[in-house]
């Protein structure tokens, strides 16, 4: 299944899940920011040194590429 990292700037995708990743990790923080299954995320830009800037409703969130890679999405 594609991850958010595979999405091009300008596209909107729907979150379907979060890879567990290492213990602790970013999963909780992602959930709390609203990256819950069913949420629509728009990729706004790719960072100059990697990572993604995404829009979640009116909020803009920067993610490093590893974290973005953990967000499964489809549409």
């Amino acid at each position: 299944m594609p991850s958010l990292n595979d999405s091009r700037p300008g596209t909107t995708v729907r979150i379907t899940g979060i890879d567990p990743g290492q213990a602790g990790g970013s999963r909780r923080r992602l959930l709390e920011f609203g990256f819950v299954p069913g949420a629509d995320v728009t990729v706004i830009a790719r960072g100059a040194t990697g990572g993604l800037l995404v829009g979640l409703g009116d909020t803009r969130v920067a993610l490093d590429s590893r974290t973005a890679g953990r967000l499964r999405c489809g549409r």
């Binding site: 299944m1 700037p9 909107t12 729907r14 379907t16 899940g17 979060i18 890879d19 567990p20 602790g24 990790g25 970013s26 999963r27 909780r28 923080r29 992602l30 959930l31 709390e32 920011f33 609203g34 819950v36 299954p37 069913g38 949420a39 629509d40 728009t42 706004i44 830009a45 790719r46 960072g47 100059a48 040194t49 990697g50 990572g51 800037l53 829009g55 979640l56 409703g57 009116d58 909020t59 803009r60 969130v61 920067a62 993610l63 490093d64 590893r66 974290t67 499964r72 489809g74």
Partner: protein, 731 residues
């Protein structure tokens, strides 16, 4: 007065018990929602900042004087995304709001960002689980209005079942109705514990949660609904009855299994397919966090439903002006050059721009002020020692302190401008990759860059870091950033010993400075901050804004005053102390107090005694250690002390050059260039100045400053010895 109101609020007889004290209101909200602006508007000048009892988190508290002469005590709790904490700041918010009954705040004022309602409502749903009466202060309505139809206060109040007051912290609009709403909320008898939270009703977790809440109610002094849901999310709060913890574990496991099996029957077919696939992919090992995912989903579903009913609006993110700017400022081609340009600008401002102001102030103190004081003391026939102490000691020390003032103002102004404009979060995003080697956030880049100019404002700049451990580590690393005061010493010494190659030597020292910072970071982090783990970047980027002069000015003044208060005394006192040591003769027959040669003073005796300590580095001579000694006070003192001890002029005096060659040739046993390089490396690595120590103490505390001081001396000695011993093989 204690920091917790006792007895009032949570037990349901608020009105009766409150007569014993001022009600305690906690101001809570996400970061960047205008919470602190609101706090300042509520309390005005009646506030103080200090560590929360038993914690290392600074919290501002103040008096909120409401209409009719009644007072409320308000604490501005740190900006927080969640009651499932991810940082010490967030843990404090959780601890305050979920304390045992009777120690909790009497009411919460929740700052809700109208421009960003969903994530704010997520936190609100957690706070409602604590059973503390909540009044919602709706902020940022102007920003929200520009983006379309924001949820109105009335509609939100209807949907939430809570008082909602629209406020404008900068103008003070809405503060009186907010106070009325808080007083009303304090008089309400809270509903009985045990009912199901609004966000959970109708969600897959509702039945299990209701069960756990019933089990918890009456068996814990903490809020039952909060305790039940945090257990379900895999948290381990202290002192939970074993039976309850066991039931929560079983409930979480059942929820995970059910979610896996029932996914296909979910009403939302699109997310259902993928959710079950996701859960299957995670396997049984991640079961306990699946309840957490269900809870997060339920809270967000509730938040979106509230917004939907309060302000129907088109879904999806529309590109804003900020987005268009970000596409440029974060792009591969333009992002890094722009970031470097901003950092260059900060560096220039704290060096080139500050320089004439610093020099002007310094000249003013050493010229007219000292001269005036001299004449004044002469006129009243003051003894020579008093003139020396007052003019060369105290006034000189105050002069040194004053030269930092323009530097600090510029630094604080830049920090405030970068932060308030919104660019700083972008800079942190760009530098994230680079700083990751040290497991520091991207924001740490700025104080380190400023350290190339001057360590003192750089240390003040560590306050932009959100985590204490990050502030401490960066605070310990900054002294290794080679400041411009050290550059003056490099240029002079390298010029004497390396001639046309001195440029290369100075460049080598700057490279060494960066390597030293990285190396020290890699050594100190695992030693002192074992719990500092590599963190994922999940960073909110606020919209670009024009900073307002009033808010920025107030911030700058507050920080400058704090710097002068905490560091000022030490800087003045050490300057006076060193003057004193140089003025006291070490024995009889060396001239009187204030008339003695440096060599025969107490200072000279001490530096002579310490010279053998640095003999392995090739510069074991009292001229050199005397220069290093005054260099402790300020690096500007190194050259003037060398000149003074050789009775030469400071600038290009052939006598000074010849004396230095002779001294280093002798102390190094014929390897004077190796010794000079070692001396320069020592200058780079040891304590930059007492002002840095004072600033460090203000930011990271006395203990760590002491440890850092020891490490600086040890590192400088080891490196200098190493450099000398290796370089003497070549030169």
């Amino acid at each position: 007065m204690s920091c917790h109101a006792t007895g009032a609020g949570a037990t349901g007889t608020a009105t009766a018990e409150r007569s014993t004290g001022t009600p305690f209101v906690a101001l809570v909200g996400n970061p960047n929602v205008g919470k602190s602006t609101l706090f300042n508007a509520l309390t005005g000048a009646h506030q103080r900042v200090g560590n929360w009892p038993g914690k290392t988190v600074a919290v501002a508290q103040g008096d909120w004087r409401t209409a009719g002469g009644r007072r409320l005590r308000v604490a501005d709790l740190p900006g927080s995304y969640s009651l499932l904490p991810d940082s010490p700041d967030e843990a404090l918010v959780r601890d305050v709001l979920t304390a045992p009954a009777g120690e909790r705040p009497d009411a919460v004022v929740f700052a809700l960002d109208a421009a960003n309602p969903a994530r704010n409502l997520y936190l609100l749903s957690q706070i409602l689980d604590t059973d503390i009466p909540v009044v919602v202060a709706l902020t940022m309505t102007d920003v929200a209005a520009r983006r379309g139809t924001p949820p109105g206060a009335q509609a939100l109040a209807r949907e939430l079942g809570l008082p909602v007051v629209r406020v404008e912290g900068r103008t003070g609009a809405g503060l009186d109705p907010l106070a009325d709403a808080v007083w009303d909320a304090l008089d309400l008898v809270p509903p009985p514990a045990g009912r199901i939270s609004a966000w959970a009703a109708g969600s897959p977790v509702a039945a299990e949660l209701a069960d756990l809440v019933a089990e918890a109610a009456g068996r814990t002094p903490h809020p039952a609904r909060w305790l039940a849901v945090s257990l379900l999310c895999g948290e381990e709060p202290p002192a939970v009855p074993a039976a309850l913890a066991e039931r929560a574990g079983a409930a979480a496991a059942r929820l995970a299994t059910a979610a896996e099996g029932a996914g296909a029957q979910d009403t939302d077919a699109r997310s259902a397919d993928t959710r079950s696939a996701d859960l299957a992919a995670q396997g049984a090992g991640a079961q306990d966090t699946d309840a957490e995912l269900l809870v997060a989903e339920a809270r967000y579903a509730w938040a979106h439903a509230v917004i939907e009913r309060a302000a129907p609006r088109p879904a999806g993110a529309r590109p804003t002006l900020t987005d268009r700017v970000d596409r440029l400022l974060l792009s591969r081609g333009f992002g890094i050059p722009f970031f470097l340009a901003v950092m260059w600008g900060v560096f220039q401002a704290t060096t080139v721009l500050a320089k004439p102001l610093q020099d002007g102030l310094g000249d003013f103190v050493s010229g007219p002020v000292s001269g005036g004081a001299d004449r004044l003391l002469e006129a009243v026939h003051a003894p020579g020692w008093l003139t020396g102490l007052l003019v060369d000691g105290l006034i000189n020390g105050v002069g040194q302190l004053l030269t930092f003032v323009p530097l600090m103002i510029i630094m604080f102004l830049l920090l405030a401008l970068l932060e308030d404009s919104g660019y700083f979060a972008r800079a942190a995003f760009v530098a994230d990759r680079l700083m990751r080697t040290l497991r520091l956030p991207g924001r740490a880049f700025l104080p380190l860059v400023v350290g190339f100019g001057c360590n003192v404002p750089a240390l003040a700049g560590t306050r932009i870091l959100n985590r204490r451990s990050h502030r401490l580590l960066v605070g310990l690393l900054i002294p290794y950033m080679s400041c411009t005061a050290r550059l003056a010493v490099y240029v002079m010494i390298a010029g004497v010993f390396f001639g046309s190659n001195s440029g290369t030597v100075v460049f080598f020292l700057y490279v060494a400075s960066v390597l030293l910072v990285v190396g020290m970071g890699l050594i100190l982090r695992p030693l002192l901050f074992r719990d500092m783990k590599e963190e994922p970047l999940v960073l909110e980027l606020p919209p670009y804004r024009l900073p307002t002069l009033r808010v920025t000015g107030a911030q700058v003044w507050q920080k400058l005053a704090a710097f002068l208060r905490t560091a000022g005394g030490i800087i003045v006192a050490t300057a006076a102390a060193v003057w004193l040591l140089m003025a006291i003769p070490a024995g009889a027959g060396h001239g009187g107090f204030g008339k003695v040669d440096v060599e025969q003073s107490v200072f000279g005796t001490v530096t002579r005694a310490t010279a053998p300590l640095v003999a392995p580095a090739g510069f074991g001579d009292w001229h050199a250690t005397a220069a290093l000694g005054t260099g402790l006070v300020a690096k500007e003192g190194v050259i003037s002390t060398l000149a003074q001890t050789y009775s030469a002029d400071e600038d290009g005096d052939p006598k000074l050059t010849a004396s230095l060659h002779a001294t280093f040739e002798e102390s190094s046993g014929g390897h004077q260039r190796a010794a000079a390089l070692a001396f320069l490396v020592f200058i780079l690595a040891y304590t930059p100045c007492f002002a840095t120590l004072a600033a460090q103490r203000a930011e990271i505390g006395t203990r760590l400053t002491g440890i850092g001081f020891g490490i600086q001396l040890a590192a400088a000695w080891l490196l200098a010895v190493g450099v000398f011993q290796i370089a003497r093989l070549v030169w």
